[in-house]
Structures are given as C-alpha cells and as structure tokens.
Symmetry: none
Subunit: 208 residues, 4 copies
DNA sequence: TACTAATCGAGACGGTACGTCTGGTCTTGTC
DNA sequence: GACAAGACCAGACGTACCGTCTCGATTAGTA
C-alpha cells in the first residue's frame, strides 16, 4: 500500500540506494579530481550504477553535482539573533566564510560556479538553492538594523551584501586566498564605520 | 644582419601573421559562442591556420584565449590623479566596471575566470597579467590616501579592494547583474563613510 | 530465453547493421580509391557509423578491410573432381586466376597483401583465411595425382604450387599484367611436361 | 673552373655528402624499422640534413628509398655462361634467391614492392631498374637454350620465368618462407622435366 | 499465481573535440 | 645557388566523453 495522495504508480519504484550511491560517488570524485576529469562514466562505475540510471533522473552532469552538493551542505546555517545587528552580521559572515573554506565544500562549490558560467540552468539553480538563501538572511538582518536605527539610514542593503559576500567570492574564485573567520572579522572591521549611524553632530552639519 | 643582442636563431621565424590571425579568430569566436562550443579546429579554420601551428605555440585552448584577451585589453586604463582620493578611486572603479561590462570583454573574461578554476597555470597568468595590475593601481591610491590623512588610518587597503572589486566580480560571476558606472557609484556611496577619516572629536579622544 | 550454450552476455548486443554497413562501405571505398586515400573517417561517414564503433571492433584500418574482403569472397570456389588430375588442376588455376582479376577483388586483395608487409597480424590472417584454403585445394589434388600415378612420383606438390600460384602473384603484385584463363592455360601448358609421369622406357631404366 | 662540357652552373654545387648521408640513413632506418614508422623527418635528422634538401632532390619518400636500395644492390649479379643451359639457369636463380634473402636487401625490397602497389611511378621505376634486368638475363639464357635445342621447342620463356621468379616473390611477399640456394634447387629440380627437350620416341608418338 | 509496468545493470551506439603525427612546402640566415 | 633549421598548411590518426539506445533481468503492485 502506498501513501494516499500519491497516485499509486505501477512498476518498480526508484531505487533510493542508486540515488544515494550516485550522489556520494559524485561528491567524492568531485572533491578528489575537480569537475574536469570527472566523467559520468566515472560516477556510474564508482557508484555501481548504470549510466542510464543517472540520465533517467538527472538531465546532465552538472545537475548531478548540484544535487550532490545540496546534500553535502543541507545542514542549515543557523544565524542566532541574540545580540546587536553588528554582532549578528559578524556571526553570519563568519559562518559563511567557514563553510566556504571547508574542504568538502570549497572544491565542489567552485566547480559549480565555474560550470554555471556556461550553463544558465545551473546558474539559476545555484542562485536559487544556495546563494539566495544566504543573501536573504543577510538582507533581513541589515534591513531590520537600518529600520531600527542600528545601521545608517542611507545604507543600501544589497550593495553592502554585494561587497561583503563579493569579497568572499573574490577570494574563492579569483585570488584563491584562504577564507576563514579571521578574514570575516577583517571585512567587518573595515566596513563597520560605513554601517554605523552617523553621529548627531556630523549629521547636523551635513544636513545644514 | 640582425640586431645585436638578439641571438639570431636559425630557421624560419615565427609567423606574426599566423599569430595575429589566431588571436583575432579566438577573440571573435569567444565573443560569439563562449568558451565551450569553441573548438580549436574552429579557431584554426577561422584563422586560416593549421591546428599544428596553434599547438606549437600554445599548450591548450585556454592559453590561446588568455593571449587573445591580453591583446584586446592591452589599452592601459589611465587613472588620473587630479582630484582628491575619493574622486580618483571613484574614477578608477567606474572605469573597471565599464570595462568589465563591455561586450567584447565580459564574455571572454568570464570564460577565462571560469576556466582558471581547473587550470592553475591559467589562474596564475590571469592574476598576474590582469588582476594584479588593477589591484596595484587601487592599492597605491588608497595607501597614499591613508598616509595623507585623506582616508581613515586604520583602513586595510587590501580588504577594501577585496570588497569593492569583489562586488564587481560577484555581479560578473554569480548574480549576472549589470556592472556599470552607476553601480560603481553605489558601491562608493555606501562604503565611503568607512573610508573618510574619523571626525576631529572622535580622533582626539582616540589619540589622547 | 536464449539458446543454451550461448552465455547470454548482458548489455546491448552488437549491431549487425553497423557491422554490415562498415564492411560494405570499406569494400566500396577500397575498390574506388585504394588503401591509401581511404580513411577511417571516410568509412565511418559512408557507413553512417561513428568512428568509435569502428575502433571498438577492429584494431585498425587493415583489419576492417580484411573482414570486408572476407565477406566479399566468402563464396567458395568449387573445384569439380570429375576428369583427370591435369584437367582438374587447370580448372582450379583458371578459377583462381579469374577471381584474382575480378575488379572487386583485385584492388582490395593487392592492398591487403601490400599492407600485410608491415603488419604481421594481418599477414597471418591473410594467409590463414585466404591463401591457405586455395593452397590446400591444390595440394590435395596434386598429392592424390602423385599417389595415383597420374603425376610424376618425384614431384614436390608445394614447390609446384609455389610456381603456379607464384606466377599469378607475380603478375598481381609486380608486373601488373592481366591474369585470366588464358594465362592459366599458358602456365599449365608450360609446366605440364614436368607433371606427367615419366615415359615407360625411362621409368624402367630407373626402376631397374 | 668547372669541367668543360658541363654548363658552368653558378652557385653552390650539390653536396655529395648530403646525398650519401640521406641514402645511408634511409637504408639503415628502413632495415631497422620497416617502411611505416620511417618518416622523412627521421631520415633528415639521422642524416644531419635538412628536409628541404631531401625534397629538393627526390620527389617523395619512396623515391629516396628507391635510390637507397639501388645503391645497396648496385653490385651486379654476374651470370657465368660456362656450362650448359640448365646449370647456368640454376646458378642465376640461386644468386637471385640468395640476394633476396640477404638481410639488408629483403626488408627494403619488400617495402618497396609494397609501396609500389599504390604508387605507379615507383612501380615503374622498380620494374625498370631491378626486375627488368633480372628478367632480361634469364630470358636471354632460356631463349638461347631453346634455339640451341637444349630446352623444349614449345617453351615460352616468359611463362617459365614468371613461374620460377614468381615462386621467389611468393615466398618473399606472401608466405614469408626463407629463400635460399636450396629452394632455388628445389624449384629447378621440379620444373626441369618441363625444360628438357622431349625424347625422340615420345615426340613421334605424340605427333603421330 | 500470473500479469504488467517501470526500474536496474550492462554496454553498444552516433556525434564530436581532443591533441599528436606525418607529408610536403616555404622562409629565414649562413656558407 | 645550396644548405640547416625549423615554421607552416593540410589532414588522418586513435582516444575520450557525452547523452541516447537497446538488451535481459528485477521488482514491485494488480488481477
């Protein structure tokens, strides 16, 4: 008997074992060898699965990697909202930075971003499933802080996020430099004066 | 008779015509079709050159594109140092933003950055030949401004550059949003308070 | 259910259509253009088959032609054993000569013999699959005739075959002269006195 | 000053050293590696000569090998005409057989015959420069013997030569069996009864 | 207990790009 | 001029990968 609501499909059901084997194999091979040099035949062989099965469930190689990466990073980043806005933002950025640098995430993520440059569908999926969620968290935090007067009024949350997260991506994709909590701190330390509301005196002079 | 100092190699000299034809063809094809879907045979055919000649001088497709792109953007960005530091920085970022968005540069550049993710040599070349020069200009400007008291003392030039340029790369590689002078202005407007020296009152207290 | 005895291999079975198309295309192209100037790409294109498929089943171009030629000449030469030994031998040689001169056989066969000069495997295959069968027929005929007293006792069947067939190959490969039934007759007419048993008088003296 | 009679060509004369080096290198490489796997670049490098020089004096690779082989076998085969026709023929065939089997001749010769199958010019050159001379010697010998009554009247010299020499070529190109004086003897022993004039008695009976 | 329908493995297939190699030509500067 | 050096064009080679396909063998639910 099947779950009600699902239209009781006849025939053999999809093998969960095969699905897991594919994703695991893809993840491992990607971590080991990077995206090029990683072939679908490799994944199939390594997963003990037929190529057919892969193409039955995923449209192409990138989609497999996408799912594989999704599983690997499914653990939600929990952004505690205990302290003041600056502290919270710092915590967020630190967590994202740490995650980006994790060995089992950095290589695959870089590969996916690279592949997305010539694969619009992948680019969309990547943005919607990973990047948007991170941005949304940061955007909510900053917006609230601006409203609450904790951050400058004239701040543009999206631009600030572009800069902070952009710096992380810059290191990830261009300079290759390490991305860790220290670096997150440096970013926050340097941009912090732009986030704080202007002192009364200064504002009066300016607005005068 | 050859110029003294040049060791007068024997044999037929490299054909400058062939070299130019290859680079031009690569540039055009890359702009039209992107890096995948661009084959070496295409370049050879389009350049009227044998594949052999390409592989004699470049180790792979990416290296050709690297050189092609280098020629295309060899025109120096001139950063005028007339006004104050902030204005100069704004001019710089505007120029870089405009360049990044130019149709004959954006596609190739994106393709090169993507390819550099799994090609360490290309990554190094890209950093040394393009990115380093841009950074150097910005770094000099900011450093001087800090020394001259035009910018905050505790600023870390590299971090600031990471953020401003990182935002540009973020749009280039991740969000795909347009990159233009307006965006450059937005970046500068938002980070500017972090660049300005602290007001007298604050500084006196600090330095006291 | 499969035929017992056949091990029922898994996977998609080899395409008989592709096999036939390759062999036919190879045969036709070889007849038209000769072995050089005949490329594997040509065969693949002409057969509507991928190059991959050719290389999956044949180690090189010559092996394809070998099989193609085998199919073309699979029709057995039937040597009737009705009359006396000399007549039968003449019939055999005439048939072989005619076959060698046939337009769809001569060019391919010459090409294969030529290629076999620097391809030991091909040479072996050629000998075993074509030349040996022809020789075997002639050898049986001559041996029996010697035993039956129809041919000279001291004849060496292999040497006789070397000479008769050698003459055919000589014209085929060296002089390029035509090879037909008339030529076969000439060969037999000239060597015939060496085949006949010695006249009684002479034999008596010898055996005495 | 040049030799009178030769039209005083200006410029540097052809380098005999280069010519010799090319032919020697070609010969050695051919003996070592066979015709395929023997490239013009190989010859040039091994001879310390530029490829240009080779193509200046020979139209293609086969022509070089032709000349190289010509030098190697320029030593004339001297056919002594001392004894009776049969003995002389035997001597001739023995010499040709021995020459064909010589290690520095067999490989190159086989390669040339093979190459001549798809190179009409080479085929012509090969026939005219090597094969014709051998045949001519044998033809003269047999013709005279027929006229002198030493051989059968109704013998066709060309057909006999086709068979004897054909047997040698057959071993050379098809069976790969050794070719030596013993083999020459076997050939002569087996065909000899066909060469001898018919005994009077037999002829009378036949013509009766 | 069959029957049906979708899955699975294996692996052959068409298509296409890769990077290498060779043949034969052309272009330098030197002798 | 001939020569060594070596770059050049043309084009075949054999390999690799992608995504599709065709098999026989499983494995549920349905009759």
């Amino acid at each position: 008997m099947t779950t009600p609501g699902e239209p009781a499909t006849p025939g053999r059901p999809r093998s969960e074992r095969a699905r897991q084997a594919v994703l695991t194999a893809a993840r491992e091979l990607l971590t080991d060898k990077g995206l090029p040099g990683l072939t679908v035949d490799d994944i199939a062989r390594s997963a003990g699965v037929s190529k057919n099965t892969i193409y039955r469930w995923w449209p192409n190689k990138a989609a497999v990697l996408m799912d594989a990466f999704a599983e690997a990073t499914s653990l939600k980043l929990e952004f505690p909202a205990d302290g003041n806005a600056l502290t919270n933002l710092r915590t967020q950025v630190r967590q994202v930075a740490t995650l980006m640098n994790a060995p089992r995430a950095r290589r695959p993520f870089v590969a996916l971003v690279a592949a997305s440059q010539h694969d619009p569908e992948l680019a969309t999926a990547l943005r919607e499933r990973f990047i948007a969620t991170r941005r949304a968290g940061a955007h909510a935090l900053i917006s609230k802080a601006i409203e609450a007067g904790e951050f400058r009024q004239r701040l543009d949350a999206d631009i600030i996020i572009d800069m902070i997260y952009g710096a992380l991506y810059y290191r990830l994709l261009v300079s290759g430099a390490p991305i860790n909590a220290d670096y997150a701190d440096q970013l926050l330390d340097n941009i912090e004066p732009a986030l704080r509301p202007e002192p009364e005196a200064t504002r009066k002079i300016e607005t005068a």
